[in-house]
């Protein structure tokens, strides 16, 4: 990854984060914490890794993305909007009557959304179905899916993991966003799923444990996934929930709570400062 490439991704991530703040603020509900934590993952996928066309969201041979942790819809929506699938202004209609931006992703309504999700554990199965479908129909596209570390408490995830390994879905890349927090508190206290990497290896995955907020590590991991044949890949991606908004970072309370007017301004101020720093670095 060139310095310039990384810089572009960082700036895109800043815009996406601002969109998350604005969307959840306008909705007065929604899930900013996990969305902010997964922003580098969204950005890396949609601005670099995936073969997609915002002008042709249903392009037949496109790579697919399934947001299995569907509650992070604000993150996906802001990414799609900033990538050009629809107008950034639409983000302010999140969760409103008549909006194509439902509380959880709806593939029938939103351009670029490949699967309706929200009920945890189901998206990863659908992604496995898409990967199997690609193989069955002789396509070479890849399928990515993002799960939460809380989500994998759902038994269906493990059914899907067994299935993906059994059918040698090497075109499937499962990303588990490990931010360590869920609604009732730290995942380690609520229902400890660690060691996730060892479990995924035992389930037959090519496993990479990475910093999910690092573009360099994400790029290398996606390359490893693409190069791995005969087994699916799992990126166990450690992230910081609420990242880049200091008062939201590592706070379970920001899982499903929208910022109020003051909090929005404070968050945007931090993100604008970050953006100026990045722009300064590039110019300097």
């Amino acid at each position: 990854m060139t310095k310039q490439e990384k810089h572009q991704l960082q700036l895109a991530a800043c815009e996406i984060r601002k969109g998350i703040i604005d969307a959840t603020h306008a909705a007065k509900s929604g899930h900013p914490g996990g969305s902010l934590g997964a922003t580098e993952i969204f950005t890396a996928l949609y601005f670099k890794e995936m073969n997609i066309d915002p002008q042709n969201p249903k392009m037949e041979d496109r790579d697919r993305f399934v947001l299995s942790k569907g509650h992070c819809a604000p993150g996906l929506y802001s990414t799609l909007a900033n990538r050009g699938f629809f107008a950034v202004e639409d983000l302010l209609t999140l969760r409103h009557i008549g909006s194509h931006l439902q509380g959880h992703p709806n593939m029938q309504l939103t351009p670029g959304v490949d699967m309706s999700t929200g009920s945890l554990g189901q998206g990863v199965s659908a992604a496995a179905g898409m990967a199997l479908g690609a193989k069955t129909t002789g396509k070479t596209n890849r399928v990515y899916t993002l799960l939460g570390d809380g989500e994998i408490e759902e038994g269906q995830c493990w059914e899907a993991f067994m299935f993906a390994a059994h059918y040698k879905l090497d075109n499937l890349c499962v990303i588990i966003d490990v931010n360590g927090l869920q609604i009732d508190g730290p995942t380690a206290k609520v229902m400890n799923a660690e060691p996730i990497d060892k479990k995924m290896a035992a389930f037959g995955f090519n496993v990479l444990r990475i910093n999910g907020n690092s573009f360099e590590e994400l790029e290398a991991a996606f390359a490893s996934a693409r190069a791995t044949k005969g087994m699916p890949t799992c990126l166990v991606a450690d992230t910081t929930k609420g990242r880049c908004v200091s008062f939201m970072e590592n706070q379970a309370g920001w899982h499903g709570k929208a910022p109020n007017d003051d909090e929005r301004l404070a968050a945007l101020a931090e993100l604008n400062t970050l953006q100026q720093q990045l722009e300064g670095e590039a110019n300097g």
Partner: protein, 315 residues
């Protein structure tokens, strides 16, 4: 009515129809959850191994996988027992298949109490209720082999989710193959009549025919409507029967709660209220035993329909 009538279980029809469709359509794929021999998808698996996916004993995953497959232009038939298709995997069917309106067909075998010896844990008498409640879901329960094979083909041709309920028990094949047409959402008048109408689905259709014959011998003219599509219900045919015969008896191998009987009642209550009786499983658990005995004991028989018809005529 013929004395010796051929009997075939509708799950056999399902397996045979899948093979036939498999030859015609490359995009048809079949999934099962470790029950391929019982659901008869094994017939398809043997002929088209590359298009058959055993999901193991994981029905929830199977339904969501089927959803994913359908987004690739494939037409998946996801198969397991009704208990696990409509029951265990209800939420996957609702959220992964129903909500995104995906083109997935659910082939649910071993529906109803005629599962027999396996007992109440496997006797799914709630699947119509569960599946009917999902917006956009088509629910079909064929009455015999001819209807079942035609229903599978109609389900393939239909764009959108379809729940097909088949049985374990061999059933009399009373439809003639020649010239037979199946249309989703259309009921079929098997016997005309003027005193009352029996509206039946699945294995109760043939029982209704037998009941009509017995009633005729006593001078009672019972119309018989076979209603393979539970949803969308052929309300036109139901209302016409109510207007013309004034009394409706429903018959289904399903709980009286939430199935054909309630669907018919809702239509009648809102349009043409007439006296109704419902024959079905009366909000109670089944138990182990031979299917024929269970059907008799739970009132799912021509004999009980005769009794209920007479009761209805007194209302």
């Amino acid at each position: 009515m013929a004395e010796e009538i051929k009997k075939i279980a509708t799950r056999e029809s399902y397996g045979a129809a899948l093979v036939e469709l498999g030859h015609q359509h490359d995009n048809l794929v079949v999934l099962d959850a470790d029950l391929a021999e019982a659901t008869k998808t094994l017939l398809f698996a043997k002929q088209f191994p590359a298009r058959f996916f055993d999901c193991g004993i994981a029905e929830g995953n199977m339904m969501s996988v089927a959803a994913g497959l359908s987004t690739c232009g494939l037409v998946p038939f996801a198969s397991t027992f009704a208990m696990f298709a409509a029951g265990r995997a209800f939420e996957q069917v609702r959220n992964s298949i129903g909500y995104p309106q995906l083109n997935v067909k659910i082939g649910a075998t071993h529906g109803g109490i005629s599962v027999g010896e396996d007992g109440a844990s496997h006797q799914c008498n709630e699947d119509f209720a569960l599946m009917r409640s999902i917006p956009g879901m088509t629910v079909i329960c064929p009455a015999d082999d001819v209807e079942a094979r035609a229903a599978v083909k109609a389900a393939y041709a239909h764009q959108g989710p379809v729940y097909l309920r088949f049985g374990r028990l061999a059933l009399p094949v009373f439809h003639k193959q020649e010239g037979y047409q199946f249309t989703i959402g259309k009921g079929e008048t098997l016997q005309d009549g003027t005193d009352l109408t029996i509206i039946a689905t699945g294995l109760m259709a043939y029982e209704a025919l037998k009941a009509s014959e017995a009633l005729a011998a006593e001078g009672i003219s019972a119309r018989v409507i076979n209603m393979p599509t539970i949803k969308p219900l052929d309300t036109e045919l139901v209302l016409k029967a109510a207007e013309e015969t004034g009394r409706i008896l429903t018959a289904e191998e399903h709980s009286v709660i939430g199935g054909l009987g309630e669907a018919v009642c809702a239509t009648l209550a809102e349009n043409t209220p007439v006296p109704v009786l419902r024959v079905g499983i009366n909000d109670e658990w089944g138990h182990s035993g031979p299917a024929a005995q269970l059907l008799k004991d739970f009132g799912l028989s021509a004999e009980n329909l005769v009794v209920k018809a007479k009761e209805l005529l007194k209302k």
